[in-house]
Structure formats: C-alpha cells, structure tokens
Amino acid sequence: MEKKKRYYPNFPGVLGWIYGGNLNFERVLFLLHRITGLALIFYLFAHIIVVGFRAYSPEMWEMVMGRISGHVNPVILFFEWLLVLAVIFHMFNGMRLIFLELGFFVGKPKRPIYPYTTSIDRQRIFTWIMMILASIFVIWSIFAFFMGGGSHA
C-alpha cells in the first residue's frame, strides 16, 4: 500500500502565501488577513491571561499595568495602535469575505462568452468600499490614540 505523503508535493510553504499565484489586490489582502489573524490570536491568549490578573490578583494587575500600559510608555502605545490597525483591517476584510463567500456582490452567473469577465472584477468595488471604510476607522484611531488620550480600560 502506498504510504501517504507527509505534505503535498507542490506545497509552496509559508513563502507561497506571497509568491503563489498572482500577486493582485485580493492576494495582498489575503496575506494581510493571515498575518493580522495570526497576530490577533496570539495576542488574544496573552490578553486573556493579563486581564485575568485583575480578577485573581489586583495588586499584580496594578503592577503589570504600571509597566506595560500605553499610558506609561509611548512605545507600548504605538504597538497598541498597531494592534488596533490589525483589528480594523481584519474586521473589515473579514466582513468582505463573509459576504463574498455567501455569494453577495459577485453578480449573477454569466455564460462564458469571449471576452471573459471574472467575478474578481465585479467584487472589487465592494472590496474598495470595505477598505475605504477601514481607512476611515484607521484615521479615527490615529486621533484617538495620539491626540485624544488613547486607551483607558
């Protein structure tokens, strides 16, 4: 019996996220969605642990927040803002993916008559709308973080 291979023979690996296929707009969004998603899930683990200190040991919470809060360290504030950027992008791009995977904004099916059109062309307007909405929130976050006091919880 033939032994199943441990990985696909043409598996491009993590670098294939970048070079596999056409590096078009959607591919860049795919790449950013993955990177931000991975960053957020690992941050979530750390965030849950740190917030837990507040319930289990308030003294430890005060001590930790005295060191790693964005209020006491501008470098941390900058990284907090980067995290909010990742959240905003992941949220709006994720909403775009949900709508597209459920078949919205891709147009009605057409017969493949030359010159062919792809659904990419039809969904790109929606993609731009979502990215513009995300950009508005990014601009807002700059004001909130660096001109209006930033985080408080």
Partner: protein, 111 residues
C-alpha cells in the same frame, strides 16, 4: 458535512465578532479618558450585560481564531494523524483559555 458546519460556525463567530470586537475596541481603547481603577472595573462588571456580553465575545473570538489557526496548520500537516493531533490540541487550548476567561469575567460579578 461536519467540516461545513464548522466553517459556517467560523463565519457566524466572525460576524458576531465584527460587532462585539468593534464595540470592545471603541469603548475600551478609542473612547479616551483616564485608566479605570480595579474597583471601578469591578463596579462596571456588576451589570449582568457586561459579563454576559464578554462570555459570548470570548467564546466567539477563541473559536474564530483557533479555527483559523487550524486551517493554516492543516495546509502544512495533512495526514489524518497530524490533523487529529491538531484538532485535539487546539480544542484543549481553546477550552482551557475559555474556562480561565469565563472565571475572569464572572468573578467581579459575584464578588
């Protein structure tokens, strides 16, 4: 069919997160103001809507995130054994983190 249901749950969790994570980021990180003391955060958690919302939020976030991570790992490790290990490992991690977060969320409410 099972995979289809898990994927749909991933979408539903993502849709819920759009609103819950959006409000979390807005109220906790973009509304401004001075940092709250531990007592103030405990007082805030006395309203049952607060721990209830965060229970749903954490469950959705952990499921959505770990399912996404599972998809990425499955691209690399695709033998039935390795996928089984990944499933068990991520389920274990998700349940442990969820229980920890659950206690964190509800302790201030009952204190």
């Amino acid at each position: 069919m099972r995979e289809g249901r898990l994927w749909l749950l991933h979408l539903i969790a993502g849709f819920i997160m759009f609103f819950l994570l959006g409000s979390h980021i807005f109220f906790m990180h973009m509304a401004g103001g001075e940092p709250l003391s531990v007592e103030e955060t405990f007082a805030r958690a006395k309203n049952i809507a607060f721990p209830l919302m965060y229970t749903i939020f954490v469950a959705a976030a952990l499921y959505h995130g770990l399912y996404g991570l599972r998809g990425i790992l499955f691209e690399r490790f695709h033998t039935p054994f390795s996928q089984k290990v990944i499933n068990w490992l991520l389920s274990f991690v998700g349940i442990v983190w969820f229980l920890y977060a659950l206690a964190t969320t509800w302790i201030p409410f009952f204190k």
